[in-house]
């Protein structure tokens, strides 16, 4: 059939009318059809996106994050929900694939219309989804320790930044064991940035860096690194080795004739999960810096540990620092949404409004297992107290030093020339303001 111009124009006009009209078939108002839909409405549950990997390489830490969030939202719902409305988590498996992270982020925001996202463990996946989150002016809760050097108007982070993490650990180790230190890390962005911070603290403490080695992520061969450590004879080792490699590292450390008494490992990541998998005798005597330990002795933590482990979500049998930080993010969200609702009305709440009203949100020690924390008013990271724990023969950690004061989060502590992160963006020393810096 030949298509003449008139017929084409007619069909095209019909087609575009149908395309414009199509959304009305499913929604009630023009505004709703074209994206003016409310994020939160009275009488409907509050939808939040939970985007972690339940399968693939990243499932080890991220499955726990999903489980503890489910526990937190159940707890919030059992206590009356948020502003009287129940929370409904939309749980999605990111399959350890960065493309899937990005796709699902878009889907959760546009199709599911979630009001906030709780997502990501690795910095790589966070950097993969942030452009989408920022383009939609949405809100990401990132509940894990990370390296900093980001300043967006769409994230709230509840884990320690690199500047908070090793601040007390390095001086403590230098004082207790001596100034000579060897750095070992996994070969990716977080260990390298963390080590830059650690070097600053090391210099301030009068320490001496003997060597710095990185092993490929997931590698289980530490023979060459341990040989170099044997040659260098440091007083202690500072480790940013993560995941499966960390377990192999601690096992081979002892198998190669080293001992925790003579040369302890000070780690930023070796928590209860890792210690249990490597065997207590391989973890005993080493040190960890974290804001939370399962063994913290306070009634809130006791309630959290007992409640979580006896819940259907406690099947992996442990609560560790990353899970606690994730748990806190649910409460930071609750208080932030309530503050926004009080200020501008529940039905007017947008993801960005929650973020803006989260400045200075406090989670008191009757909710927070690690004790009082609050969200920084400028960079929306968390003020917290890093603690140093020493692993005991039974796999639990004894707190050997707790920070007296809350430590301020500073995402640009080692890059002062880039500026200061404020609520409106990164203010460079010359006064220029850049937004959405990742």
């Amino acid at each position: 059939m030949a298509i003449d111009r008139r017929k084409f124009i007619k069909n095209a006009a019909l087609g575009s009318a149908a395309a414009l009209g199509a959304p009305y078939a499913f929604t009630r108002t023009i505004g709703q059809a074209w994206g003016q839909q409310r994020w939160v409405s009275n009488g409907a549950p509050i939808k939040v996106g939970v985007l972690f990997s339940l399968t693939g390489d990243l499932a080890v830490p991220e499955e726990d994050s999903t489980l503890v969030l489910q526990y937190a939202f159940d707890e919030i719902n059992a206590n009356g929900g948020i502003a009287g409305l129940p929370v409904e988590p939309v749980i999605v498996d990111a399959r350890s694939d960065f493309n899937v992270y990005t796709e699902r982020t878009r889907e959760l925001i546009l199709r599911e219309r979630v009001v906030a996202l709780f997502a990501c463990y690795t910095s790589a996946s966070r950097k993969a989804i942030l452009p989408t989150v920022m383009a939609q002016n949405h809100l990401l809760y990132y509940p894990t320790c990370y390296e900093g050097a980001e300043c967006t108007q769409n994230t709230i982070c509840t884990g320690p930044l690199a500047n908070q993490h090793s601040k007390d650990l390095i001086p403590f180790m230098v004082q207790q064991f001596g100034p000579r230190v060897f750095f070992v890390g996994s070969d990716y962005v977080w260990p390298k940035e963390s080590n830059k911070n650690a070097k600053v603290w090391l210099e301030a403490a009068g320490g001496e860096l003997l060597g710095e080695e990185y092993v490929p992520l997931g590698s289980s061969e530490f023979g060459p690194v341990l040989n170099k450590i044997r040659d260098a004879q440091p007083d202690f080792i500072f480790s940013t080795v993560v995941g499966a490699s960390d377990i192999a590292f601690h096992r081979q450390f002892r198998q190669s004739g080293f001992s925790a008494e003579a040369m302890p490992i000070a780690s930023l990541t070796t928590g209860e999960i890792e210690t249990r998998a490597m065997g207590n005798e391989f973890g005993a005597g080493h040190f960890l810096s974290a804001p939370y330990f399962q063994g913290l002795d306070n009634p809130t933590n006791q309630r959290f540990v007992e409640g979580f482990l006896s819940s259907p979500y406690g099947k992996n049998g442990v609560t560790h620092y990353n899970m606690e930080e994730t748990y806190l993010s649910a409460y930071v969200f609750k208080y932030g949404l309530e503050a926004a609702a009080a200020a501008i009305g529940l039905e007017e709440v947008t993801p960005r409004a929650i973020r803006d009203h989260s400045a200075g949100i406090r989670v008191e020690d009757d909710i927070s297992p690690e004790g009082l924390i609050w969200i920084d008013e400028n960079n929306f990271n968390t003020w917290l107290k890093p603690k140093i724990g020493q692993c005991q023969g039974d796999g639990t950690f004894t707190i050997v030093q707790a920070s007296e004061e809350h430590v301020a989060p500073d995402p640009y502590s080692i890059y002062p020339e880039l500026g200061v992160c404020t609520t409106n963006g990164l203010v460079a020393p010359d006064g220029r303001v850049r937004t959405n810096v990742i």
Binding site: V215, G223, I247
Partner: protein
């Protein structure tokens, strides 16, 4: 490390000899991981992408035997050989035997099997890493002069050598070995002389799977028991097999060569860079000698 010494740390002989000894250990780890793949590829021509997951199953069967039945670690090693061998037998009967004439399909099918095994393990055991208890004498190290080597590495080395010797006897001094070699060289001719080639393939695949299980059992003394742990061993295993050419002697030579090179490069630079250099060397080597070190004279399918 000072900036100028990035590529050449201060040379000293004792450290270098330590690196050579460690290289032998790395070689034995890569070789024991690769033996099962060598046999399956060399004899049956199957490119088994699920090899890493068979290693993982060996580790998990050790974990299960130990935690559920209280069997000591050293006894778990031969038992894992039998268990994973039986799984391999089953796999061969229900899937692989239909695909011998279609090598590319076997690759896809075994890749699918590997995904099923990873997810299945995760469903049954959960995704958190598992703890395997090893005897106290494997937690120490041995010091001979200035050479310091972990006892667990010595154990792996000894087991690898023993398995290699046993395989050599099996293939070159037993009736089964003659049958395998006959089927590998000319299947139809062997069949006409009364060799049941289907049975030979089946037993070979089961043996290769069992060896992967044995490797998994012994390697969990050093590595981390996780559903995804197999991926760490698949690449070195393929390197050893491809460089070796698919023959047993070739794999031994390739294992020693690549292991030593990895250790020496890692001594002079670092682990990541060592792998980079090693992979480049292997690419160059395969460009010059695509059939590998010791290519068997058999007709290639």
């Amino acid at each position: 490390m000072a900036a100028g010494s990035l590529f050449l740390t201060q040379f000293n002989w004792s450290a270098f000899i330590n690196a050579l000894v460690l290289g032998l250990s790395i070689a034995s780890i890569w070789l024991i991981a690769a033996l099962g793949l060598t046999i399956i590829y060399g004899a049956a021509g199957v490119i088994n992408m699920a090899h890493g997951e068979l290693i993982m199953l060996g580790a998990y069967s050790t974990y299960t035997l130990q935690t559920s039945f209280g069997i000591p670690f050293l006894l778990c090693i031969p038992l894992s050989f039998l268990i994973v061998g039986a799984i391999g037998l089953l796999l061969e009967r229900v899937l692989i035997r239909y695909l011998y004439k279609r090598p590319l399909d076997t690759m896809l099918a075994t890749f699918g099997v590997s995904l099923v095994l990873i997810q299945g393990t995760r469903i049954i055991f959960g995704s958190s890493p598992k703890y395997v208890d090893v005897p106290e004498f494997l937690s120490g190290s041995l010091e001979i002069g200035f050479v310091n080597i972990a006892t667990v590495r010595i154990l792996i080395f000894v087991v690898t050598v023993a398995v290699c010797v046993a395989l050599w006897f099996l293939f070159f001094r037993s009736r089964f070995g003659i049958q395998v070699r006959a089927v590998t060289q000319e299947k139809e001719m062997a069949a006409s002389f009364g060799v049941n080639s289907g049975r030979v393939y089946m037993m070979t695949f089961a043996l290769g799977a069992g060896l992967a299980g044995l490797a998994g059992a012994i390697l969990c003394a050093m590595a981390t028991v996780l559903p995804t742990m197999g991926g760490n061993y698949l690449v070195p295993s393929f390197l050893v097999v491809v460089v070796g050419g698919g023959a047993l002697a070739g794999s031994v030579a390739a294992g020693v060569g690549t292991g030593e090179l990895q250790s020496i490069f890692a001594y002079f630079t670092n682990d990541t860079f060592a792998r980079f250099v090693l992979f480049i060397l292997i690419v160059v080597f395969l460009r010059l000698r695509p059939q590998g070190l010791f290519a068997p004279s058999a007709k290639r399918r």
